[in-house]
Amino acid sequence: MNMDSKLAQWEKAGLIDAATRERIAAFERSAAKPILLYALGGLGAVTVATGIISVVASNWDAIDKGAKLSADLVLGVALSVGIYKSVQGGQRWFSEILAGIFYGYVLASLALLGQIYQQGTPPHQALLIWSASTIPVMLIVRTPLLGFLWLAGLLWTHIATSIYFFENLHQSGTAELNFLVVSVAVSLFVYLIIPRIPWFSRHRPAVSSTWTSTLWFILTSGGFVSHFLYYVAIHHDDRPGWSLGVVALVISVLIAVMSRLYPTAPPRAILGQRLVLGFIALTFIVGTTATRDAWPAGGAVLQIILLALTAFTVLQLGRIRLFNVLTGFIALRILIMYFEIFGSMLGTGVALTSGGILTLFLAWIWWRKSPEMAARLGEGHEHAT
């Protein structure tokens, strides 16, 4: 929205006078953050960090070991001094950029050690050292882009470590499945809690918000994918067993503490988040508890219900664009469902008839509810994250 033209319209319509218009314009100018500057800076930091890693990965040959290591340490000290001075001097933009570069530099340095000393250790070890040693310094960052970069690094480390762990577990298939399910459930718990730690959400609101949004996106995407379980038959050996109890416990705790995790979210948004989380857990548990045949139609319907619950939640959070995207996905999923269940003439006919009725019913609901929805959207709900 162009603020100046809007203010001009309001003044012309007699809603505000010239003095009020001037005060609003001055307030907006002072409150405006240099978003482009931060975005470009963040992108620059990510690019430089990637460049350093790439140069190291090329294992350049022209410089001897001592010089390489010395240059690496000098660069590290220079970056540290730069970060220290910019933080102390209150130059937030510089400290963000340098912290982003420093984050990449540490990973590149560990890779350099791996090259020079021909360390055949599995990559997850270097990633673990990188992630652990950079946690304090990454607490400096405040922007969404670098917050996302940090989360991506942590998730990369987590996934690489988990893969190594499961490859070397040497347990029976069912035991491995149980460990995997517990690992995902506990990880989910930890990842959803961390960005809602009061210090984190109070002092690093943009990073906390980015983490929260990203993790809920991963959670709902994972839930959506998990419904493909219904596309295959579950045999006796495929059932996880005791770990489903852990999933139920973890999800119950998360549902119970949801309003504490998101204290500023509207109650209906909290309800939506609880429904999404509970629905994903319940459909996973039901789908894997007993042996059963494949049930693709059920999986497809569950996916549509999950998308609808997610759309309801984002609507309550005031995320209108996301809501529109999700409704588009629901329509697309229904369309794909028609093609999935094409089979015999009878099956196709029944599917198309019932699917068409469902679509018409949804459209009718939409039409009936749209004035109410429009009124609600106009209220401008508070964002939860």
């Binding site: 040959d61 055949g120 310094v137 400096i140």
Partner: protein, 169 residues
Amino acid sequence: MRRSFLIAALLLPLIVIGLGIVRSEIHLARGTLWTFDVDGYDPRDLLRGHYIQFRLDLHEDSEAGECGDDEGELCCLCLQKTLEAQPPTVYRRRCEDAKYQCDGVLKTQYLKTLTRFYIPEQDAATLEAKFREAAQRKQARLWVAIDREGKPQIESLRLDGETIHRDEK
């Protein structure tokens, strides 16, 4: 942000990197050098760049072996010296016995770390060809520094007696 926390946060990664250098240098300086025949091929690693992937050709005396891979970290390679700069005689012993019976000990759990050698990007193709030729003639040798705990660290890869990481020496 408190000044002391900021300094500690910035120093921590640098200390970790420094300790990594010191640990590796100590290992190379104090470990005993052994050489092994190798054979392999060349892929690349997104994080650490080009490397030659190889397999150690241990010429293991399997009949003399007392333990297997299923015993994990309890099983060691017992290394007995042969001629100067030649691969040792190798057979498996339980680690607790190997310490007293062998000239050198290599824990089998670390064998999977001896599978790649990082090379400069611009020389990757040349070195790969050189490596393949040398390996066919049994002239590709990996030199490994092994410490008293039986942990290895690659010292160099030598093709036809020539160290391919010339700048590292």
